[in-house]
């Protein structure tokens, strides 16, 4: 336990690095997946190829991506940008399906009514389609966030991995405490992030929680 007391500064640094390495890609990924998914619903022939591409990208091993990206991007091997870009790719790969499914979850009669009462395309997307797609998109957001939090640690192998660096340190010195601290903190972080997203979703979609009435009447 004294190790923890002596290394609070280090732990805090690794934790905050972990948070931004995991969360930034979620934000970027969402910002990329939303327009991409929208385009795929407008030009429906694009949807299946995009979803398939997402599947392929997601199956790339993260270690390989961390090592290949500096070559492709021209960045330093130890540049955190590599991690952010790699995890953004995973996030987009995962979210693209949810964005497309979410936008497709708008019932046809609702879409038809929105057009017929006089919503223009932009207003319809922002005030009808997207809000209705929130539950499906947020389901993907939860998976992507938790997956990112766990994958950041893999970056420790190439020297930038947030809490993952506590693992490498611990293993190198054959000293378990940093490993335990790292595991516990990433678990807590994943749990907290998931709770935050669920909470945000509840605030955004009060309508999704209503109880159905007696179907008669």
């Amino acid at each position: 336990m004294t190790w923890v007391g002596d290394n609070l500064g280090l732990i805090w640094d690794q934790l905050s690095e972990h948070i931004y390495l995991a969360i930034l890609p979620v934000v970027f990924g969402l910002l990329i997946a939303l327009p991409l998914g929208y385009v795929a619903t407008r030009f429906s022939w694009l949807a299946n190829p995009l979803i398939a591409l997402g599947g392929v990208l997601y199956s790339l091993p993260s270690i390989a991506l961390f090592i290949v990206l500096p070559v492709v991007l021209g960045t330093q091997v130890l540049d955190p940008v590599n991690i952010v870009v790699a995890l953004t790719i995973y996030t987009v790969a995962l979210l693209i399906r949810n964005v497309i499914d979410g936008l497709r979850s708008v019932p046809p009669d609702v879409r038809q009514a929105a057009i017929a009462v006089g919503f223009g395309p932009a207003r319809r997307l922002l005030t009808i389609d997207l809000p209705i797609a929130v539950p499906v998109i947020f389901a993907g957001l939860r998976v992507a966030t938790v997956a990112n939090i766990s994958m950041v640690s893999v970056g420790a192998v190439i020297g930038i991995g947030g809490l993952g660096e506590l693992f490498t340190q611990g293993f190198q010195k054959d000293f378990l405490t940093p490993v335990v601290v790292g595991v516990v903190l990433s678990l807590l972080l994943a749990l907290l992030a998931d709770l935050l997203i669920v909470g945000l979703q509840r605030v955004l979609t009060p309508w999704a929680r209503v109880v159905s009435p007696v179907k008669a009447a």
Binding site: D109, A116, V117, G118, F119, P131, V210, K215, A217
Partner: protein, 333 residues
Amino acid sequence: MIEFEDVTKQYPDGTLAVDKLSLRIPSNEITVFVGPSGCGKTTSLRMINRTIERSSGRISIDGEDINSGDPVTLRRGIGYVIQHAGLFPHRTVVDNVATVPKLLGWDRKKTRSVAMELLERVGLDLKLAQRYPAQLSGGQQQRVGVARALAADPKIMLMDEPFSAVDPIVRHQLQEELLRLQRDIGKTIVFVTHDIDEAIKLGDNVAVLRVGGKLAQFAPPAELLANPADDFVESFVGQDRGYRALTFLHTDKLHLNPLPEDLVLDDDGKPAGWLKGGGDLLPIGATFTRSDSVRAALDAVLTSPTGHGVCVDENGKALGVVDHAILAEALRS
């Protein structure tokens, strides 16, 4: 008035949905498009608010071509009700009703008071205003759909099979309420249905369309029943059209016989039953009022155990009775 002139809708694959449709839809009345599936009735309706664009011909509202302006602006001026209502699931009932006023940028207070007033008008409990559509029954949702269509007080309301997804009892209620509402608001309503009975009940005018999008007949319902234009209309209208035409024969001039001795009235003068030997009361059967049709009077006679159909006033008080002979006389004239 909405006028169709030689309007055709042909899809890129060559399918002709509507073929040279020409008709005039009078203002402030209910005009029903009816026909089997594939007759182009819904296509014709949707061409009015340009959610489907015509291929050729001209559609005008009060003389002005609907293509002369922006379709989104056009749509905000036309109420629209569809099957299953198509309410926005993420908005409360009152926000759903307020949709078009919000799009038009009305101030909040006015929008809200209009929305609440309309909810009342379509027969919804104001307690439902803050609920979400998923919390309402099908019939209630459809009422909200009608309120939403009327919120910005459009001159025209388009209704695309609005009542076909609810059960028959609720459908009957909604039809009655639409007629009651229309007596107050006098909108130009275009109503699409595949149900000829609904068309005859609701329409001031009925356009019967045949498969391939051709107009078979455009006439008031009584005319449709009395003089179908061809075999198609005759078979579509159905076999008992003579009987159903009685709907358009009024009972207001029908002679009434005085109340018979064996008709028992309660304290309010309402018919309670028919007295038969042994002191038992037999049920009254159906009754009718002076504003009902001869069809209702005939039904009263047929369901009465004594063959006397009881005519009541609007409070249910017995006025007199009719029998087979009186009806036969009315039918002969």
